[in-house]
């Protein structure tokens, strides 16, 4: 499933936050690209800018300078509505704290991105069931999040991330709130997704988890200090 053009191209990106008068630089001249089908682990200490980088790639924020291309589209200059559309169609988020809506059942949580895509409810139901099935949790479709274990919740969250067949999955410490067994299960799902061609960018603290990827990027004080292939 490898193609010539990178899925994500981060080019000379700087990000500076303004707190009142004070300017706080977070990222300096970040430059890297992600090819289709890669599984990239991003590591680094707290405050090194990992989350900021994920937010920029995830179209939740805009870079101060430089550009980010997603499927060859420069997202750094897009309007809010267009960014929302890209988040909806091209990006799937997996969070450390799962971020499921507590009042919606598993399947309704998975359907959420499809609602914003304007897909009919019959089609939504079908796609959501497929996604739940692919992470092995279809039997829990009608359960509410508080009736599920941490590992199950994260699997529902992964189903939500993949339901719209995005170009890239952004996972921010996906195993951070899980015990090691649930963490392993979640990583197995990522492996499976990746081997079926899904591009994954994952932030983690855990070296063992990071080494499950095909490439490792290390950040330190807002700069990339290492970028190597593992497999």
């Amino acid at each position: 499933m490898k193609s010539d053009k990178p899925v994500v191209l981060v080019k000379d990106v700087c990000k500076t936050y303004k707190l009142d008068q004070l300017e706080v630089p977070v990222l300096f001249d970040i430059h890297f690209s992600v090819d289709s089908g890669e599984f990239i682990s991003i590591m680094g200490p707290s405050g090194c800018g990992k989350s900021t980088l994920m937010n920029l790639i995830g179209c939740l924020d805009r870079p101060t300078s430089g550009s980010i291309r997603l499927d060859s589209v420069d997202i750094s200059k897009l309007h809010d509505t267009e960014l929302a559309k890209i988040r909806n169609r091209k990006i799937g988020f997996v969070f450390q704290t799962f971020n499921l809506l507590p009042r919606l059942s598993s399947i309704e949580n998975v359907e959420l991105p499809l609602i914003y895509s304007g897909i009919t409810s019959a089609e939504r139901d079908k796609k959501a069931k497929e996604a739940l099935d692919s992470v092995g949790i279809l039997s829990r479709a009608a359960h509410m999040p508080n009736q599920l274990s941490g590992g199950e919740r994260q699997r529902v969250a992964i189903a939500r991330a993949i339901v719209n067949s995005p170009s890239v999955i952004l996972a921010d410490e996906p195993t951070g709130n899980l015990d090691s067994r649930s963490g392993q299960e979640v990583m197995k799902i990522f492996d499976k997704l990746n081997s079926s061609g899904v591009t994954i960018i994952m932030v983690t603290h855990d070296t063992n988890i990071a080494e499950r990827g095909s490439r490792l990027v290390r950040l330190f004080d807002g700069r990339i200090i290492e970028d190597k292939k593992i497999k």
Binding site: N55, G58, L60, D61, D80, T81, A84, K85, R87, N88, R89, F93, F95, N99, L100, L101, R103, L112, P113, I115, Y116, S117, G118, R160, N164
Partner: protein, 398 residues
């Protein structure tokens, strides 16, 4: 996201917080219900008054010449320049007039044997009384033209008087004393009950000529007149004015029509509607502020949810619609409950005051529109707050 998705999302969110949504709606419910009840009562009052006037014979061909500059100039009733001869002049010179009935009114003490009766209204009238007032005689007969011209001491009494003085005896032909003078009872009116606050069973009619001497006056209290047809009403008024203006000062009398009396009632009902409508408007305003307040709380509570929705692709418009629709649904449900409560209240009130149920369609449509408008107005600001949340901050919110 489609409107239906927003709508069902709003219903779910309201269901999750039933008590809160219910209390939030209360302001709108009370406001709308009071508008519905109020408008219905006003409408029923108007219908009631029209029906009463018509049962009094005051149809569209009816008009009344009364002393004084305006209606309600009661002092003029007992001392004025209207005379019996003016009634004859109108009858003779106004071709558009079919009936003229001059009236005098006074109190009277009745005596039959040892029984006394204090009569509140003794009416001196002419032989056309039963035509003009549609008040029928069920026993005996009404007095005739000759008895009016001859100033005869005859009387027709209401059922209540008949019951009190004669019980089950036939009063026809009996002699009673009216303020010390002997009268012969020649007829009894049909039972009518109260019409326009006047107990029609507690009246007695005597020839107007007799009445004038009985009350020792020359002043006529009013002339009740029928035009030949409703179309001739205006013409009749013109003719009457031509006759009367030559005889008495135009500012010493006025002419009322059914339309004129209705406009007075409309004014009173309209004033009441404005006052209570204002109170209802304040209730709706407070209700709207309540909704806005709860929506603001709701936006803060759901900051994280908004962040998640934005992350999975909700546009600004989607978030805006979600909160706006929720606000409108709360307000509209309040409006519907208000309409139900208002109609129930109207029904109960009408039952208690013994009037027919009135449903005013325009008030219901207005209530629906107003409640939707309140929802929109109070939803916009909270929805804008939700839209403008930074997704990164919102996702971090705990």
């Amino acid at each position: 996201m489609s409107f239906f998705d927003s709508f069902f999302m709003a219903l779910r969110s309201i269901r999750a917080n039933k008590t809160r949504a219910g209390l939030t709606m209360l302001g709108v419910v009370i406001g709308i219900a009071s508008v519905i009840i109020l408008v219905a009562i006003g409408e029923a009052a108007k219908q009631y008054v029209v029906a009463q006037m018509q049962s009094f014979g005051m149809n569209a061909a009816f008009l009344q010449v009364a002393p004084g500059k305006n209606a309600g100039d009661y002092m003029a009733y007992f001392d004025n320049d209207l005379r019996l001869k003016h009634a004859d002049m109108i009858k003779a010179k106004c071709p558009s007039v079919s009936e003229v009935m001059p009236i005098v009114v006074g109190k009277a003490k009745l005596k039959y044997g040892k029984k006394d009766y204090n009569l509140s209204q003794c009416w001196g009238a002419t032989e056309n009384y039963t035509t003009v007032f549609s008040h029928k005689v069920v026993k005996g007969r009404f007095f005739n033209r000759a008895e009016v011209e001859g100033s005869r001491k005859v009387c027709v009494i209401g059922q209540k008087i008949s019951d009190e003085l004669f019980g089950s005896f036939d009063p026809i032909g009996e002699k009673i004393k009216v303020n010390g003078r002997k009268f012969v009872v020649i007829g009894v009116f049909e039972r009518r009950g109260k019409v326009l606050m006047q107990d029609m069973d507690d009246v007695m009619a005597v020839p107007v000529t007799t009445g004038l001497s009985l009350f020792d006056t020359k002043a006529i209290v009013e002339m009740d007149i029928l035009a030949k047809s409703p179309q001739l009403l205006k013409q009749a008024i013109k003719e009457i004015r031509e006759v009367l203006d030559k005889e008495i000062d135009p500012s010493d009398y006025h002419i009322d029509t059914q339309e004129g009396m209705m406009s007075l009632i409309n004014n009173i009902v309209g004033l009441l509607t404005t006052v209570i409508g204002g109170i209802a408007a304040i209730s709706l305003l407070v209700g709207g502020i309540g909704i806005m307040n709860i929506m603001l709380v709701s936006v803060t509570e759901r900051t994280k949810e908004i962040g998640i929705r934005k992350a999975v692709g909700a546009r600004r418009r989607d978030i805006f619609m979600q909160f706006l629709v929720e606000s409108v649904v709360i307000s509209f449900l309040g409006g519907i409950l208000g309409i139900i409560l208002g109609l129930t209240g109207t029904f109960l009130i009408m039952y208690v005051i013994k009037l027919g149920m009135v449903v005013v369609l325009w008030a219901i449509i207005l209530a629906c529109s107003v409640s939707v408008a309140i929802g929109i107005i109070s939803g916009v600001y909270p929805a804008m707050r939700a839209v403008n949340l930074d997704p990164i901050e919102a996702l971090r919110y705990e």
